[in-house]
C-alpha cells in the first residue's frame, strides 16, 4: 500500500508537524509499510459486527455539580513557556 506525498503533506498539516523535504521519501516508505500491514484488515469479514469502542461493557458515571477545584494558577503557570498578567502568550492570532 503506498501513501502519496500529497497525502503525507496533507496529514502533516492536520497534525501540525513540520516536515522537511528530506524526510518525505523515508516517510513514504515507512508509512507505506505500516499501511500495508494494516491493509490485512480488509480481508476480515465484519458484516453485521458492531465496532468495539471500549473493552468493558459499562456506562458513564456522572459527577455531581459541585465545585471541587481551587485556583492553582501560580503552580500551573510556573511551568508555562510564556505568560503575562495571568494569560498564556502565543504569537499574535489574527481572527
Amino acid at each position: 500500500m503506498t501513501i502519496s506525498r500529497e497525502d503525507i503533506e496533507k496529514v502533516a498539516v492536520l497534525a501540525r508537524i513540520r516536515l522537511d523535504e528530506e524526510q518525505i521519501p523515508e516517510l513514504e516508505n515507512d508509512l507505506g509499510n505500516i499501511l500495508s500491514l494494516v491493509d490485512q484488515l480488509s480481508a476480515a469479514d465484519t458484516d453485521n459486527v458492531e465496532p468495539l469502542a471500549h473493552p468493558l461493557d459499562a456506562v458513564q458515571r456522572l459527577r455531581a455539580d459541585e465545585v471541587t477545584e481551587t485556583n492553582q494558577r501560580e503552580a500551573f503557570q510556573a511551568i508555562a513557556p510564556a505568560t503575562e498578567d495571568g494569560l498564556y502568550l502565543v504569537p499574535r492570532v489574527i481572527e
Binding site: 492536520l14 497534525a15 468493558l56
Partner: protein, 485 residues
C-alpha cells in the same frame, strides 16, 4: 539486600534489622554505581527518597507501618509525580514538572513506599525496545557480560532493566500492546498487565486511551501481587475506571492449581514459532501439568488480525491524545516562533521523535475523511471479533498460555530500520490489549543464555488467578531468581 524481593525487604524492615534510610541508601548507591551501563533511570530522586525513607522509619517507630512502608521502588516516567520531572521519555516533556500526582503515584505515597526515581521508557510508550527515548536507549543487563548491548524490550524497558539489574526491587509500568510483558520476558522478570479499568489512568500520560493500562513489575509473582494491592481500585477521576472491589491479591497465591484448565491457542503455536522458543514454552506448560493442571488446544481465530487492528486504533487515539503538546501551556516550545502555525509545527517537529511522529501521521490518516470507515471503523469491528474469541476461549478453559515474544532480547539497532519489523515483536501480546483481558509474563527459561517468558492470559478481573498460577510456578522453578552476570 538488593537481591531481596519486596516481600523479603518488608519483613527485614519490620524486624528492625535494617532501617528504610539504610536500605534506601544502599539502593541509591547501587544506582549511582551501576546505572551508567543500563541507563534505566531518567531521574533519580535522591533527596526526596531519603526524606521519604526517614519519614517511613518514623512511621514504623510510631507503630503505623504497613507492608510497603519504607520499601524502595521506582515509577515508570509516564506516571505524573508532583514536583518531580515526568518526561514520558520525550524531549517534548523534558522540562515538565507536574504540580500533581497520578492516582497510582498517590497510592504508593499513601502506602509509605519510597520512590527512588523515574525509569526510562520508549517515547510516549511507543516502542518495543526502549531505543526511542530522548534520554538514550536502555541496555539489557542480560548479554552485557558477552559485550553485547541488547534491548530490554519496551516501552517499559527502564523499569524492567532496573529490576533485572537489582537497582530496585519493583517498579510501576504500563502496557498498551505488550509494554510490560515483553520487557519482563526479555529481562527475565515477572510482570502483570491488569484488566482494562482495574488501575486508574488518571495522571498516567496517555498513549492510546482504550488500550493503556498501568501494571506491575518485580522479580516474583508475590511482589506483583503486593504492587497490585496498591495500584488497583476505582478512581472517580477516571471515567474508564472499573467500580469493582479489590481483593487481597496475596491471599490466594497459595491456592493449589489442581484442576486448572489451560488453553494453548493454536494460532500462537504455528510453524512461524521458532522451535527453541516453542520448546521453552511447552516445558513451562509441562510444569503446570505436574501441578495438576490440564491442557488443551483452543483457537483465537482472529488473532492474526490483532497487529493490523492495533496499528490503526492505537495511533488514531494517540494522534488525538498528543495534540495537547503544542508549546502553549507546558513542555517544549520552539525558539522564536514566527506565527501560530510556526509555533505548532516546529514545536511538534522538534519535540517529538521519529516513531512518535510516524504514529501520529498514521493515526491522523486513519481518522481522516475518506479513510475512517476503511481503517478506524474496520479496526474497531475486528476488535470486537478478537474480544469474542477470548470470551469463547474462556468458556472452555481458565487461562491461556503462550510465548511472550518470538525470540529473546535482540541487539540494539537490529530492528530499527523498519518500523514494521519492530511491530511484529508484539505478535503474542497485542490481542490481549484489544480485548482488555489481564495477562502476565513469567520467566520460563533461557535461549542462548538470554531469558524468555511464558505468557499467562486470564479472563476479565481474574488477576488473582493469574498471580496464583505464576506464584505456584515460581515455587517449582527458579528461572525468576537467575541473575545476569
Amino acid at each position: 539486600m538488593h537481591n531481596k524481593s519486596v516481600a523479603e525487604l518488608s519483613r527485614e524492615l519490620e524486624s528492625g534489622k535494617i532501617s528504610s534510610v539504610e536500605l534506601t541508601r544502599e539502593f541509591l548507591d547501587r544506582i549511582k554505581a551501576e546505572d551508567r551501563q543500563y541507563n534505566s533511570f531518567i531521574t533519580v530522586t535522591e533527596d526526596h527518597a531519603m526524606a521519604d525513607a526517614k519519614a517511613a522509619d518514623e512511621q514504623r517507630a510510631a507503630g503505623k507501618a504497613g507492608v510497603w512502608t519504607g520499601v524502595p521502588f521506582a515509577h515508570k516516567d509516564i506516571f505524573c509525580t508532583n514536583g518531580v520531572a515526568t518526561t514520558a521519555g520525550s524531549k517534548m516533556l523534558a522540562n515538565f514538572v507536574p504540580p500533581y500526582d497520578a492516582t497510582v503515584t498517590a497510592n504508593f505515597r499513601a502506602a509509605g513506599a519510597v520512590c527512588l526515581g523515574k525509569t526510562n521508557m520508549d517515547e510516549f510508550a511507543m516502542g518495543s525496545s526502549n531505543e526511542s527515548s530522548f534520554f538514550g536507549p536502555v541496555t539489557n543487563p542480560w548479554g552485557l557480560s558477552n559485550g553485547e548491548k541488547r534491548v530490554p524490550g519496551g516501552s517499559s524497558g527502564g523499569s524492567a532493566a532496573a529490576i533485572a539489574a537489582r537497582l530496585v526491587p519493583a517498579a510501576t509500568a504500563t502496557d498498551t500492546g505488550g509494554s510490560i510483558r515483553q520487557p519482563a520476558a526479555l529481562c527475565g522478570i515477572t510482570g502483570l498487565k491488569p484488566t482494562y479499568g482495574r488501575v486508574s489512568r488518571y495522571g498516567m500520560i496517555a498513549f492510546a486511551s482504550s488500550l493503556d493500562q498501568g501494571g506491575t513489575m518485580a522479580r516474583t509473582a508475590e511482589d506483583n501481587a503486593l504492587m497490585l494491592n496498591v495500584m488497583a481500585g476505582f478512581d472517580p477521576k477516571d471515567s474508564t475506571s472499573a467500580d469493582r472491589a479489590v481483593p487481597d491479591y496475596t491471599a490466594t497465591l497459595n491456592e493449589p492449581l489442581k484442576g486448572l484448565r489451560i488453553g494453548l491457542p493454536k494460532e500462537y503455536f504455528s510453524d512461524q514459532l521458532s522451535p527453541t522458543m516453542e520448546q521453552q514454552v511447552r516445558s513451562a506448560v509441562k510444569e503446570y501439568e505436574k501441578l495438576g493442571a490440564t491442557v488443551k488446544e483452543v483457537s483465537l481465530p482472529h488473532a492474526k488480525l490483532a497487529i493490523a487492528a492495533y496499528y490503526v486504533i492505537a495511533p488514531a487515539e494517540a494522534s488525538a491524545n498528543l495534540s495537547r503538546f503544542d508549546g502553549v501551556r507546558y513542555g517544549y516550545r520552539c525558539e522564536n516562533p514566527q506565527d501560530l502555525n510556526d509555533l505548532y509545527t516546529r514545536t511538534r517537529a522538534e519535540g517529538f521523535g521519529g516513531e512518535v511522529k510516524r504514529r501520529i501521521l498514521v493515526g491522523t490518516y486513519a481518522l481522516s475523511a475518506g479513510y475512517f470507515d476503511a481503517y478506524y471503523l474496520k479496526a474497531q469491528k475486528v476488535r470486537r471479533l478478537i474480544q469474542q474469541d477470548f470470551i469463547n476461549a474462556f468458556k472452555e478453559v481458565d487461562v491461556l498460555m503462550s510465548p511472550v515474544t518470538p525470540s529473546p532480547a535482540f541487539v540494539q539497532g537490529e530492528k530499527t530500520s523498519d518500523p514494521v519489523t519492530m511491530y511484529l515483536e508484539d505478535v503474542f501480546t497485542i490481542a490481549v490489549n484489544l480485548a482488555g483481558v489481564p495477562a502476565m509474563s513469567v520467566p520460563a527459561g533461557f535461549i542462548d543464555g538470554l531469558p524468555v517468558g511464558l505468557q499467562i492470559i486470564g479472563n476479565y478481573f481474574e488477576e488473582a488467578r493469574l498471580l496464583n498460577a505464576a506464584h505456584q510456578f515460581q515455587q517449582v522453578t527458579d528461572w525468576h531468581q537467575k541473575l545476569p552476570q
